[in-house]
Symmetry: C2
Subunit: 371 residues, 2 copies
Amino acid sequence: MSFEFEIIKTQGRARAGIVHTPHGDIPTPVFAPVGTQATVKAVPPRDLHELKASLILANTYHLHLRPTSELVREMGGLHPFMQWPGPILTDSGGFQVFSLAEINKIDDDGVTFRSHLDGSKHRLTPERSMSIQENLGADIIMCFDECPTPKDRAVVERAVGRTTQWARRCREAHSSDEKQALFGIIQGGIFEDLREQSARELSALDFPGYAIGGLAVGESKAEMYAALSVTEPMIAPEKPRYLMGVGEPDDLAQAVQMGVDIFDCVIPTRLARHGAAFSRSGRINMRNVIHAKDPSAVDPGCDCYCCQNFTRAYIRHLLKADEILGAYLLSIHNIRFLIRHMEMMRQAIIDGDLKAYADDFLNQYLRLEKV
Amino acid sequence: MSFEFEIIKTQGRARAGIVHTPHGDIPTPVFAPVGTQATVKAVPPRDLHELKASLILANTYHLHLRPTSELVREMGGLHPFMQWPGPILTDSGGFQVFSLAEINKIDDDGVTFRSHLDGSKHRLTPERSMSIQENLGADIIMCFDECPTPKDRAVVERAVGRTTQWARRCREAHSSDEKQALFGIIQGGIFEDLREQSARELSALDFPGYAIGGLAVGESKAEMYAALSVTEPMIAPEKPRYLMGVGEPDDLAQAVQMGVDIFDCVIPTRLARHGAAFSRSGRINMRNVIHAKDPSAVDPGCDCYCCQNFTRAYIRHLLKADEILGAYLLSIHNIRFLIRHMEMMRQAIIDGDLKAYADDFLNQYLRLEKV
C-alpha cells in the first residue's frame, strides 16, 4: 500500500487517524522513538515491537557519514539492515548539519560541512539529501531545509526563502516514488508572519504531509506553543502534521490538542542513559538515594518489562554501577511511557475525552496541584 | 528441593548429570554466564532464559561493596533483586580481593583491603564471606580461599594451608542451611603435590561440591590442563566439579573430557563489548573491515536472536558507531554459543560420542587443519 492519511475522529483541533505506509499502519497521534544510527539506542527491534512502537526515525546525516547510505542500500535498505519491518521516517540531514557539523559554506545551492566524526568534508544539497534518503528507503522522507536559531529575524527570513526553494528542488529530484512520501518542513522561527509565509509557500507545493521545524531548539515552551498555534491552521487539515524533535510528555499533551499527529525525540532514550525516568507524577532521577531500598516499580501503573519486573532499588543499583542493563530498562520504560501516553490520547480523542485526559495528565505530571 | 547431584551418564572421565537446587535443575556439564554486579552485562534476565542459561554467577566482592549484601537481603535476596528465578552461584570474594583490591594485610584470620571503587577499608574473613553469601542467598556458595599467583611455590604452599583452615571455618560458620550448598575450593597452583594436599584436606571436610581454583590466572594452557588432570581424580566422583573462571570454547571441550561439570567466565560478555564473536571456526573480530558489507550471520549455524536476524555488516556498523545494541547482540550470541557448546557436549556424553564431538570441534575452532 502506498502512503495515505486517514482521519478517524477529531476533537477540537486534535485528530485520531491512521497513516498507511508500505511497511504498515501508524495509528496517530504517534510518538516515534529515534534510531539515530539505525538503532534506537540500547533497544533491540523486537523490544520496540513489544513497546508498540509503530514508527521509528533514523538520521540521514549520521547514516550518510557512517556506514553511508550506499552501504545501507546495498544491504537492502534500512528496514532489513536494522531489522525493523515497520514504518521508518528519515529526516533530511538539515538539522544535524546545522547543529553538529562544522559549517564551511551555506549558499543557495546547499551546504558544505565537515563531519563531526573525523573532519571529512561533505556537501549536502536538496538533490543529494533526496538520493541519500532514497538509498535508505524510509517510508516517510523529509525535504532538505535550513534550520537556523529561531529568534534572529534576518537569518530566519533567509532560511524560509531557501527552505521553499530547496523544497521545490527536493520535489523535483524525488522520483515520484510511491514507496516514499516526501514531507515539507515549515520554518519561520518564532515569527508569525514568517511561519505563515513558509506554510503558504510549501502548501502550494502540495506535499503529502508537513513538518513543523525549527522548534524545540532553545526557545521557551510558550514561544513554541505560540509558533505551533500559528502554524497548525495553515496546514491543510487532510495532511498529517509532524512536530519535529518534540517529546516531553507535557509538550505532547499540549501539541496533540493543537492538532499535531506525529512526534519524534531522542529524549526517552537520552534521559534513560542519564538515569532519569518518566512517570505520571513527573520526571524521576533514579540515581537519587531515596530509591536505594525502594521495592516499588519505577512507574507502578506502567505495563513495560522494566516496571512489571524490577524495583527502583535494583534500577538505582544498575545506574550507580554503570551497568548497561540500567540504560536498557529505563529506555524501554521511557519509550513505553510516551507511546502509552499517545495511545491514551488517541483513545481519548475517539471517546471525545481529550481535554479531560490532557488536563488530568498535565496537572499530575507538572504537579500543578502540589505546589 | 535441596541440593543434590545426579550423574546420568559417563564417558571416560566426562559426566552428564543434573545439579538439583532449590531454584531449579542445572543440566551438566554447564557454562554459567557471570553477572558480576547482579546483572549479566548488557543481557536482560528474560534473554538469559531464552539462551537456556541454567546457572548464573554473581560476585560477592562486588556486591558487598555495592549495593551491599545487606541491601540485597532486604530486597529479598539476589533472585528477586535481579529477577533471575533460576539457580545462582556466588563466589567467595577471595579471587577479587586478591586481583582487584589493594591489599593491606593478609593474616591467618582473613584479609584487610581497600575497595577498588572508593578506597574504603574492608575486611573479609571466612565468617564474613559466609554471612555476605547468606545475605545474597545464592543456591551454591563458595568457601573463602586464598588465591595467589600459581607459580610461586612458597606462596602457593601457604595459601593451600590457609585455604584448608578457612574452609573449615566456612563450614562451621555456614548454618547447615539446606538452601545453600557450600563448595570447597582446591588450590595448589601448578604444583602436583600441593594440588593433592589441598584436594585431600578439603575432601576430608566432605563438601557437597568442589571447585578447582587458582587456574586461568596467567599460567599456560598446558600447565592448566596438567593441574586439572592431577586434581580431578582426587575429587570423589559423586561430587560436582567446578573449574572457576574458565570459558574459552577450546578449554571447555578439554576440561569436560577431564571430568569438569561446571564452568563460569566473563569471557563471552567481555569479548562482546570488545567486538569479538565466537564461531565454530574460531574467534571473529567483528570490527574488521572485511565484514563491512557481509550479509551473512555472525555464526550462520547459531540459533540465537543475533544470528537469526542480523548481518555481520549491521553488527560491524553498530560496533564502529559505539552503539549499545552491538554489545547486546554479541553478548547474546557469545553466551548462546558457549551454552550450545555445552548442550552438545552433554548430548554427546549421553550418546557416547564425546571424543568425536570434541575432536571435531577443536579441529575446526583452533583451525588445526588449516595451517
